[in-house]
Symmetry: C2
Subunit: 153 residues, 2 copies
């Protein structure tokens, strides 16, 4: 699809970007996550071309991020659902929300608020270390070569 083969790089960031490294796919994910599952609704809500929507949906299904479910047999009609793989990708959207709210919302403030079920409060995500549970941002880390690293990346 893209001209550069990001999926073939020995880098998890690049491989993730191979799947979702253009604007429409994350926005499709956003809308499916928010409850929009059908082609026409997605197209209307996103205001994108039907051609590109069809392509992106097909791609996201191929990548295992979305699943098609038949909701009508005559004619065959599908709706699109998040897979587990896709649900985990939605975490990325939450981090985008936080950054976007912080740096692009201006005086208007955040367009969407996120209420955490467990505590009932409006909140954002924070990043924590999976091991010690303390805050962990990009500046708190050393990078080390891992088992999946190889030459010719």
């Amino acid at each position: 699809m893209q001209r550069t083969q990001f999926g073939a790089m020995a880098c998890s960031i690049a491989r993730t970007l191979d799947v979702i490294g253009e604007p429409w796919s994350p926005l499709i994910l956003r809308d499916v996550y928010a409850g929009t599952h059908r082609f026409e609704q997605l197209q209307r809500g996103l205001g994108m071309s039907r051609k590109v929507l069809a392509e992106r949906l097909s791609w996201l299904v191929d990548q295992g991020v979305l699943a098609r479910r038949e909701y009508c047999a005559r004619p065959v009609r599908h709706e699109y659902l998040l897979t587990d793989k896709g649900r985990e990708l939605c975490d990325l959207l939450l981090v985008m929300v936080r950054w976007g709210d912080r740096w692009t919302a201006g005086e208007a403030g955040p367009p969407v608020l996120y209420r955490h079920h467990a505590c009932g409060r409006i909140s954002h995500v924070e990043l924590r270390c999976s091991e010690c549970e303390q805050p962990m941002r990009a500046t708190d880390i050393d990078l080390l070569s891992g088992p999946g690293a190889h030459r010719g990346s």
Copy 2:
């Protein structure tokens, strides 16, 4: 730059994608974060066209994500540094790493390991609620209309 004006949408995700919604910008951020600051090094490490690199760097500077610092006056030469705004965007990369390690690394395992300064262990980021500090994933949230929401989005 993009054909659809994502930056004009009343959505923090879309506005973030306006800044960084193609593969090369996140990868440039990755390399600047990892210590590569000069044009030639970035170009060689990324293997991207000089034209697109120059454009992306200029864009990221315009967006306040990177800053140019002159490291040589004759001829004028710049290196590229993360701003605070850019550093916060690197959190996005950490979440991409986690997803990519989980779903795209296969048997080879993660190409890069991340060691948390504070605990010294190899770890990943987890998302937590900014208010109650309990785990918070995309599935743990209700969406509400916020102050920056307006019609004609």
